[in-house]
Amino acid sequence: MSDHQHSAAAQIPAPRDNSSHVNKLRNRNIRNGLLFIAPNFIGFFLLVLIPVVTLFYTSFTKWSALGDPQFNGIWNWRRLFTDENFWDALTNTLYYAIIHIPLTLALAFGLAVLLNSKIKGRAFFRTVAFFPYVTAIVAVAQVWSMMFDPKAGLINQFLALFVGADNVPGWLSSTTWAMPAVIIVGTWREVGYFMILLLAGLQTIPAELYEAAKVDGANAWQRFWNITVPCMRPTLFFTTVTLTITSLKILDLTLVMTNGGPGTSTLVLAQYVYRVAFERADFGYASTVSLALFFICLAVTLVQFWYNNAKEK
C-alpha cells in the first residue's frame, strides 16, 4: 500500500523543498493511522489471528488443552468423514441456513419496502421490527420455549382451534419440529436487523428514477423489479453474505432453546465444536471440525462474491 503511494508520489514533479513537507505529512498520517487501528488490531492479532493460525496446526493433533498437542497426521480428518454426529450437525446447519436465509431476506426486504413508503406510524413500526434484535437471547429463548410447549403453549392452543388438539406439532420435543421452531425464532429475531440495513439501502435510491419510470408508464411491480432490485444489489449482496455467515455459525439459539436435542435433531456445527472441545476436552478434533466449518463459510462466501462480480459486469 505505502509502496504504491510512494511510487505514485514520485511521479509527481514536485519542488524539492515541498517534498520533505509532503513526507512529514505522510509520516504523520501513517503514524496516526497505525495508532488509531492499534487498539483494535492488537486485540484482533492476539485474540483472533494467532488462535486461528494455530487452529490449522491443532487440527492435525490430539490435544486435551493440557500438555502439548501431539501430531497425529490425518487421523482427525479421517475420523471426521465417518463421524455421524458431524454429518448430522452439517445437515442441520445447512437445513437451518437454507430455510432461514431466504425467509429472513424476503421478510426483511418486504418490511423495508413497506416501511419505506409513507404509511402512518412508520417510525413506530420500524422500532417494533427492530425490537427482537436488541432483546437478550436467553430471555427470548425462554419465552419462546414456553410458547412452544406442546400442551400448555400459546402456539399449540391457537393451532388446536384449526387442526384439533391431537394434530398439533410437538415443537421442541419432536425431532421433526424442533428445527422449524428454531428457524421461526431465528427469523423473528434477525428480520429487524436486516430490515434496517435494507431500509438504509432503499433510501439511497434517487426518487427521480421512480418519477421517470412513472412518466414512462411503469407500474409498481415493474418499478420494483427494474429500479429497486438493481439499485439494491450492493446492499443485498452485503446482507446476504453476512446473513449466510451468521446462519452457518448459529449457536446461541439452539444452545439455549434445545441444547442440540432432542437427540441430535438441532445439533449445529458450532455447537458440536463447543461440545467436542469443552465437554470432551478433545481440542484437537474440535479444531478439525471448526476448520471444516471455516472452509464451508469460505466456499459459500467465495461463490457469492464470484456471482456478484459476474452480475455487475
Binding site: S2, I30, R31, S64, A65, L66, D149, S173, G261, G263
Partner: protein
C-alpha cells in the same frame, strides 16, 4: 515514507515491550518467596480452588481446620465458577497458573487432568490409607497403579422418601430391600392412593432425567460384575450399551403411566429435584446424598415444606444384590499441581492427605457433606446436623451400600458420557427407539478410536 517513520515506531514498540517486561518482572518479584515457594519467614502459603464459597462452606472450613494444626502452612482459597469449574481450571492449568491444590469435581474429567502430567503423583500419600476400609473410594483414583488425587467427600445415590406422604396414603416406607419391580409396584399403588390422601397434583416419584446418570449410572453399577472397578470398566468401555435397556424400559413405562414427570416436561420446564421433592410434588426421589444437608436447611428456612423424610438403599435390578445394595457416586477429591515449587508441593500433599483422613472427615461432615472417610465417628458428626433423619436405616445406608463409580476412568470417558447423554435425550423424549439410539451412540463411540481395546490396551 515508512523508513523515516520506522525508528519512531520501533521506539514505540520497544517502549511498550519494556513496560510489559517490567510489569511481569514486578509480578514475579513481589511475592517475596524463595525458589522452593517458602515465604521469607519460613512459612508456606498454598492456594486452593473452590466454588460458590458463600454457600459451600467445606473449602474454607477444611482450610481453616488444617491451619489450626499446621501453624506453618497458610491456605488461600480462590473462587471458581461452579458451572464452568473444569473449563476455568483447564485454562489455568494449561497456562501454568493453577492453584497448588484443586478439587476434582467428579471422575468424568479426572483422566484428562491426570494423563498429560498436570497432576502430582500422590501414590505415597494414598499408600497410608491402602488398608483402611473407611476410605474405600480412594481406589477410584488409581490409573496404571498411580494415584493423582485423594477423595475428601463422597456421594452415593439413595432413595429419598417423604414419610408424611407415604403414611397418609397408607403405603409402607421403603425398607431397603426393594427391587425396581417393587418400586414400580409401589409407585402404581401411590398413584391410586395419593389423591385420596389429599395430594392431588403429586406424582408418586420424580426421576431427574436431566442427569444422565439417572438411569445410566444405575444400570452400569448394578450390572457390573464383581466389587472392583474392573467389571464396571469392562462394561462401560466395551462399546456396547445394551446394558442400559432394562432401566430405560422401566423409565419409559413409568413416564407413560404418569408415575413421574416426563422427560420432555423436565427438560423444557427445567424442573429442579429440590422443588419437586421439597414442595411435596413427589413422594419418592432417587438422588445423591448431597441433597440431605440442603434439604434440612431448606426445611428450616421455609424454602421447602415441613415433612418427615428419610433415605433408603436404592432399589436393585436383581434380588441377589439386595443385601449389599449397589449404588453409584463419584468421590470428590483434591489434586496437587505438578508444577508447584517443592515446599508448596510438600505442604499441599500434606493438606490433601489430611483432608482425606479422619480429621478432614470430621470437618467435612460438620459442613453437612458426606466425608469420603466413612468411619462411624464421621457419620455421627454428619447426622448430628439438625433436620437430618435420625432413623437407623437412613444412617446405615451409606455404610451398607456398595458405591460404584458414576464415571469409570479412562481416555474415552468424556466421549462415551457425551454420546450416551444424547442417546438419553432421544430415548426419553421418545424421538428414537432405545435400540436405535444406543446403536447410534455405540457407532459414534467406536468411531473415535478411543476405546481401550482399540488402543491396544
Amino acid at each position: 515514507m515508512l523508513n523515516k517513520a520506522m525508528p519512531r515506531l520501533k521506539r514505540l514498540i520497544a517502549a511498550v515491550g519494556a513496560c510489559a517486561a517490567a510489569l511481569s518482572l514486578a509480578a514475579c518479584g513481589s511475592n517475596g518467596t524463595s525458589a522452593d515457594g517458602r515465604n521469607a519467614d519460613g512459612t508456606v502459603t498454598i492456594s486452593m480452588a473452590g466454588w460458590i464459597l458463600a454457600t459451600r462452606p467445606e473449602f474454607q472450613a477444611l482450610a481453616t481446620g488444617f491451619e489450626k494444626t499446621h501453624s506453618n502452612i497458610h491456605i488461600d482459597v480462590k473462587e471458581y465458577s461452579a458451572d464452568d469449574y473444569d473449563k476455568q481450571l483447564i485454562a489455568d492449568l494449561s497456562a501454568g497458573k493453577a492453584p497448588d491444590v484443586f478439587p476434582m469435581k467428579n471422575l468424568k474429567m479426572y483422566y484428562t487432568y491426570a494423563s498429560p502430567g498436570a497432576l502430582a503423583d500422590l501414590s505415597d500419600a494414598a499408600a497410608k490409607y491402602s488398608d483402611d476400609s473407611n476410605l474405600a473410594v480412594a481406589k477410584d483414583y488409581v490409573i496404571d497403579g498411580k494415584t493423582y488425587a485423594l477423595p475428601y467427600r463422597v456421594d452415593a445415590t439413595v432413595l429419598y422418601y417423604n414419610k408424611t406422604m407415604l403414611d397418609k396414603a397408607g403405603v409402607d416406607v421403603p425398607d431397603g430391600t426393594w427391587t425396581w419391580d417393587d418400586y414400580l409396584r409401589i409407585c402404581r399403588e401411590l398413584k391410586k392412593k395419593l389423591p385420596a390422601a389429599g395430594y392431588k397434583d403429586a406424582y408418586p416419584t420424580y426421576h431427574h432425567t436431566s442427569f444422565q446418570a439417572i438411569p445410566q449410572a444405575i444400570a452400569l453399577a448394578q450390572q457390573a460384575k464383581g466389587s472392583g472397578v474392573a467389571g464396571q470398566n469392562d462394561l462401560f468401555f466395551s462399546g456396547n450399551y445394551d446394558y442400559l435397556k432394562p432401566m430405560y424400559k422401566l423409565f419409559l413405562t413409568m413416564q407413560h403411566e404418569g408415575l413421574t414427570l416426563s422427560y420432555n416436561t423436565v427438560s423444557s420446564s427445567k424442573t429442579t429435584y429440590q422443588s419437586q421433592f421439597g414442595t411435596q410434588k413427589a413422594a419418592l426421589l432417587p438422588m445423591g446424598t448431597w441433597f440431605m444437608g440442603p434439604l434440612a436447611d431448606q426445611q428450616a428456612s421455609g424454602d421447602a415444606d415441613k415433612f418427615e423424610w428419610g433415605v433408603a438403599a436404592l432399589p436393585q435390578l436383581s434380588k441377589a444384590t439386595v443385601k449389599a445394595p449397589v449404588t453409584y457416586g463419584d468421590p470428590t477429591g483434591f489434586a496437587v499441581a505438578a508444577n508447584s515449587p517443592s515446599a508448596k508441593m510438600k505442604a499441599a500433599k500434606e493438606f490433601v492427605a489430611w483432608a482425606a483422613g479422619p480429621e478432614g472427615a470430621k470437618v467435612t461432615a460438620q459442613t453437612g457433606s458426606v466425608p469420603a472417610y466413612l468411619s462411624n465417628a464421621a457419620l455421627d458428626t454428619f447426622f448430628a446436623k439438625k433436620g437430618l433423619p435420625s432413623d437407623k436405616q437412613s444412617r446405615e445406608v451409606l455404610r451398607t451400600s456398595v458405591i460404584k463409580q458414576e464415571n469409570p476412568v479412562g481416555e474415552a470417558t468424556q466421549v462415551i458420557q457425551d454420546e450416551l447423554n444424547m442417546a438419553q435425550s432421544s430415548i426419553l423424549s421418545e424421538t428414537k427407539s432405545t435400540d436405535e439410539a444406543l446403536a447410534k451412540a455405540s457407532h459414534a463411540i467406536v468411531n473415535t478410536g478411543l476405546l481401550p481395546s482399540q488402543q491396544g490396551k
